[in-house]
Symmetry: C2
Subunit: 337 residues, 2 copies
Amino acid sequence: MNTVNLKQLAQELNLSVSTVSRALRDSWEISTPTKQRVFDLARKMNFQPNPYASSLRKHRSRTIAVVIPEVANNFFALAIKGIETVAREKGYHVLIYLSNEEVAEEMAITSSLQSGRVDGVILSLCGATQDIRHLLELQQRNIPLVFFDRVCDNVTAPKVMTNDYESGFVATEHLIKAGCRNIAHLTISMSLSISHKRQEGYINSLRRWDLPCDPAMIVHCGLSEEESYQQIRDLFLSDKRPDGVFASVEKLAVQVYHVCRELGLRIPEDVKVISFSNLVTASLLNPSLTTIAQPAYDMGKEAATILFRRLEKKYIVVPDDQVMLPAKLEVRNSTMA
Amino acid sequence: MNTVNLKQLAQELNLSVSTVSRALRDSWEISTPTKQRVFDLARKMNFQPNPYASSLRKHRSRTIAVVIPEVANNFFALAIKGIETVAREKGYHVLIYLSNEEVAEEMAITSSLQSGRVDGVILSLCGATQDIRHLLELQQRNIPLVFFDRVCDNVTAPKVMTNDYESGFVATEHLIKAGCRNIAHLTISMSLSISHKRQEGYINSLRRWDLPCDPAMIVHCGLSEEESYQQIRDLFLSDKRPDGVFASVEKLAVQVYHVCRELGLRIPEDVKVISFSNLVTASLLNPSLTTIAQPAYDMGKEAATILFRRLEKKYIVVPDDQVMLPAKLEVRNSTMA
DNA sequence: TGGGGTTACTACAACGTTTTCGTAAATAAA
DNA sequence: TTTATTTACGAAAACGTTGTAGTAACCCCA
């Protein structure tokens, strides 16, 4: 427990508390010699101002919250790193909350954030979020909100995204050019706009190349490991086995690898695979995985930067600036012709 | 900004602030009907108590800090998940700080934590930490500290570790049994006790099997990617090329794969590889990687549990209880005989 | 009828900062 | 010399909660 406070400094220096406070904040109202005395003693006594007293008085916590569905995932981990970097630079603190892909948890979290504990929130939706009241409530409390990656179209707030539509298009096109004619798309919860966009890119790419768009080839995978594994397995055991797979998230690509291994299917000979992914080991997989890599770190930095712009310049209100950071296609062996 | 407070509730109900406060905390001093009235209005007005006022008054923040060297790493990410899970269960909030493997940053972080912002700290040292004054300072301020994984032997505090010595021994033994006779050990900064222990396990395993222990086979890799890549490359180009490699951290194993690819060395035919690692894709690598997997999630949970035991003082305060969670050897193709 | 005890509340002072409003003293302007 | 203005500080009131110390009102039993 921190015990040295302004009062003690003031007593020691024969000054008033307010003078000490002002001196430490380098106020022009305090003479240079006095400031020096205060600085010296504060340093000597290792004075650390109580952040809670300060927050209470100033109605500012210098703390932000990051709410994400999971952290054991290179994309979100890198995003956190980006956010933390910017935050610490700006003297802010970062609270982390994991919704574990559960809407109920996401709601409980945002609800607890209404207390004024944080000055702002950076959030990436969990897969099943449909109801957005909990997000609107945050805004009603005047707590700035910035989305990244899994944004919410129905909420007016800044958003940091990747070019999901284009990436979906390019990924599918890449498979087509590699010779695939029966391409499956694996995706998660369709309540997410990123899933929509990626899928649209997929569909339009098929159209553009005059390939049929078979609804059976679009697999909406469940959230549980087992469920999605089964679904992917069923897909590969169906009459029309795909010769190419575009996975909208990394986890699904990993499962495709496992399923193929189980079923004795060869990648890329029997089926080619491409996926949104930030795996560090993509190039070391067997075979190496062709990925659409999102600039996760930069997205985190960007989201934080936007948030701090809002927090520090209240007068400039940009209701919903959107930043689009392009993902990058990294061609590897899993889509070799 | 949160604006509904106790005072407003009190006014509306014709009660005193203290009564409302007590009613909300379900105090026995308040009659049931009054409590009900208070609860109802609080819910209706969506009252959220100001956490900073409460923290100031109670000298407790219900917040902990997690300080780790990096997050874009499955081990630390899972540990965070474990910590966050326990914390939220207990009604605590988790601040995250990344030291980026820089002692200076680690010190700046712990220094800022002296302010009483957090009730406790969970920390994993960065590779180069030697000076431990910043950690002792935390303890002098009576801020409970719990280490996990990269613990600090010189500081008296609870520690959550894996059986590093045994794991080092077993990993090396596994290579020996697979036929390796010239085993290299790749490690990071030797100021870390986990590195020491893993290395000791390695050395003693060699001794146990009457194999020579060549100092040239122990490579202390630098922190930068380029540096360690060069060091590993040099190792493989040296006169006595190892036929087995025991990597003490995942990152180095990944680099071994890259180096081998560059040099045209085959794993496991030319060189067998085993590594401490929590890679989800270990089994999908080319070849699949034999790992010593630490129970990262459980370690996080355990560290948090110990910290909360201390914070809540329900149990006897044990100054430095140490918990050892065993790592698990997962044999895969990279060490096939 | 009064002393003791319980019940259900209230008043007020913390907690450590920041900020508003003052004000003595020193200096400048008249 | 008198009157403004500046300089450098202090007193006190916030911020919203919680804990301590009361205290009316009622009941119990002698």
